[in-house]
C-alpha cells in the first residue's frame, strides 16, 4: 500500500474543497500560495492570522485557506477588518480582495483606512476588469484596452494604485505580478511585520475575460506579457507608474515605500494609557 501524499501546504488549505472554482490560467491560486508561504515564514501562529475579503473572484481566496476567514459584503472588507483589529489588536488581519471590490465600490473605505494608518495588510489583486460578472471595465482598466463594456477601447484614464496608497500615508506600498512568486512572497512577508497600513498590488491574469478581449490566447500568453513588459524599479517616482502597457510603457514593479509612521493602534493605546493614568 502506498503512502498517502499531501501537498506541502495541506495544513494551511482546505483540501477537501479543491479543485477550486477559478478558471484555468487564473493567477489567484498563485497569490494564495504566496500568502501561505509568507504566513509560514512569518513565525506568527496560524490561529492569530485572519483573512478578510469582500465580493469577487479574489474574495473566494479565504474560502480555501484553513484560517479564521471572513467573506463580507461587497466593498466592505476593510471596515470589518478595522473593527476586528481594534477589538483584538493581537490578531494579524489581512484583507485580500480584488480591484473592483477595494477601489470601485469600496474606494472610500480604502481612503480612510489608509489615512488612519490602520494596522492592516491589504493585498489587492488587480486583473484590470470585473472578472466575476463577465469582464466589464472598471477604474483599473488600462487606456484603449477592450472589455465587455468597452468594445471599441477604454477612454478613461486608470487609477494608479500605489500612488494613491502612498499619497494617503500608507506605511508600506509594493506592486508585483503573479509571474514573480518569490518576490511577492518576500514582499508579503515584509509587509506582515510593518506597523501600520501595508498595501500590495498584485497583477493577475484573467484569461477568459481581459485576456480574451485583448488578444491573449490563454493564460500563458498573458503571463508572458507580464514577464516581458515589467521592470523592477524600487525607487520609481510613484506618479509616473500608472499602468498603460498598450502604448509601449513598461509595468513598473517593486517595493516602493517602507516608512515609519504612527499607526492607529499605537495612537489608540497611547490615548487609553494617558486617560487611564489621569491625564487629559
Amino acid at each position: 500500500m502506498t503512502e498517502v501524499e499531501y501537498h506541502p501546504k495541506h495544513e494551511l488549505i482546505r483540501e477537501e474543497r479543491f479543485p477550486h472554482v477559478w478558471c484555468p490560467g487564473c493567477g489567484l491560486g498563485i497569490e494564495l500560495q504566496c500568502y501561505l508561504n509568507a504566513l509560514e515564514k512569518s513565525g506568527i501562529p496560524q490561529d492569530s492570522h485572519v483573512l478578510v475579503s469582500g465580493i469577487g473572484c479574489t474574495a473566494r481566496i479565504p474560502g480555501y485557506a484553513n484560517l479564521d476567514t471572513y467573506h463580507t459584503t461587497h466593498g466592505r472588507g476593510l471596515p470589518f477588518a478595522t473593527g476586528m483589529k481594534i477589538a483584538n489588536p493581537d490578531l494579524k488581519v489581512t484583507v485580500i480582495s480584488g480591484d473592483g471590490d477595494l477601489f470601485n465600490i469600496g474606494g472610500n473605505h480604502f481612503i480612510h483606512a489608509a489615512r488612519r494608518n490602520m494596522d492592516l495588510l491589504v493585498i489587492c489583486s488587480n486583473n484590470f476588469n470585473y472578472g466575476m460578472t463577465g469582464g466589464q471595465h472598471g477604474s483599473t482598466t488600462p487606456p484603449t484596452s477592450k472589455s465587455a463594456s468597452t468594445p471599441y477601447g477604454n477612454i478613461e484614464p486608470t487609477f494608479n494604485l500605489p500612488y494613491i496608497a502612498s499619497a494617503l500615508g500608507a506605511s508600506y506600498v509594493a506592486r508585483w505580478t503573479v509571474m514573480h512568486p518569490r518576490q511577492l512572497t518576500k514582499s508579503i512577508r515584509t509587509a506582515m511585520e510593518v506597523k501600520g497600513f501595508a498595501f500590495i498590488e498584485v497583477l493577475s491574469p484573467c484569461p477568459p475575460n481581459f485576456g480574451k478581449f485583448n488578444g491573449f490566447k490563454d493564460g500563458f500568453e498573458e503571463m508572458e506579457f507580464y514577464r516581458k513588459s515589467s521592470v523592477v524599479q524600487n525607487d520609481a517616482k510613484l506618479e509616473d507608474i500608472s499602468i498603460d502597457p498598450f502604448h509601449g510603457k513598461n509595468i513598473v514593479l517593486g517595493d516602493f515605500v517602507n516608512r515609519k509612521r504612527a499607526s492607529y493602534i499605537t495612537l489608540e493605546h497611547e490615548l487609553i494609557d494617558r486617560v487611564r493614568g489621569g491625564g487629559q
Binding site: 501524499e5 487564473c26 491560486g29 498563485i30 518569490r182 490563454d218
Partner: protein, 100 residues
C-alpha cells in the same frame, strides 16, 4: 584530480568552471502530481527550466489533460521549485531527494 563537471543535456553552457565544481552535486528533485486538480494552464510545462513536464494524453475527471513527467527527462529535475510556486491549482509539488 580534476573532475569533469556533470552537465545534463539541455543545461546551459558553463562559461567558467568554478574551481570547486566537482565537490558539489547537482540537486535532484522528485515531482508529485495530483492529476485530478490540474486544469491544463500549461504554466509548469512552459516555465520549467529543464522542460521536465509535458501534457499527458489521459483525461481527468473534469476533462483536462493533466501534466506528467517526461519519460526521457526523469532525472533532469533539479528541485528548483518553479513548477510548485507557479501552479495556481496546488496540483504539483517537488521533494528534494537526498543524494548519498
Amino acid at each position: 584530480m580534476i573532475k569533469e563537471p556533470k552537465i545534463s543535456e539541455n543545461q546551459r553552457e558553463i562559461w567558467r568552471e568554478p574551481v570547486n565544481f566537482g565537490r558539489f552535486a547537482v540537486p535532484k528533485g522528485e515531482i508529485h502530481i495530483f492529476p485530478e486538480r490540474c486544469k491544463e494552464c500549461n504554466y509548469c510545462t512552459n516555465y520549467c527550466p529543464n522542460q521536465v513536464l509535458e501534457r499527458s494524453p489521459e483525461v481527468n475527471v473534469y476533462g483536462y489533460h493533466p501534466v506528467r513527467v517526461r519519460e526521457d527527462k526523469k532525472d533532469s529535475c533539479v528541485a528548483c521549485g518553479m513548477c510548485q510556486s507557479i501552479c495556481p491549482d496546488f496540483a504539483i509539488f517537488v521533494k528534494e531527494v537526498k543524494i548519498q
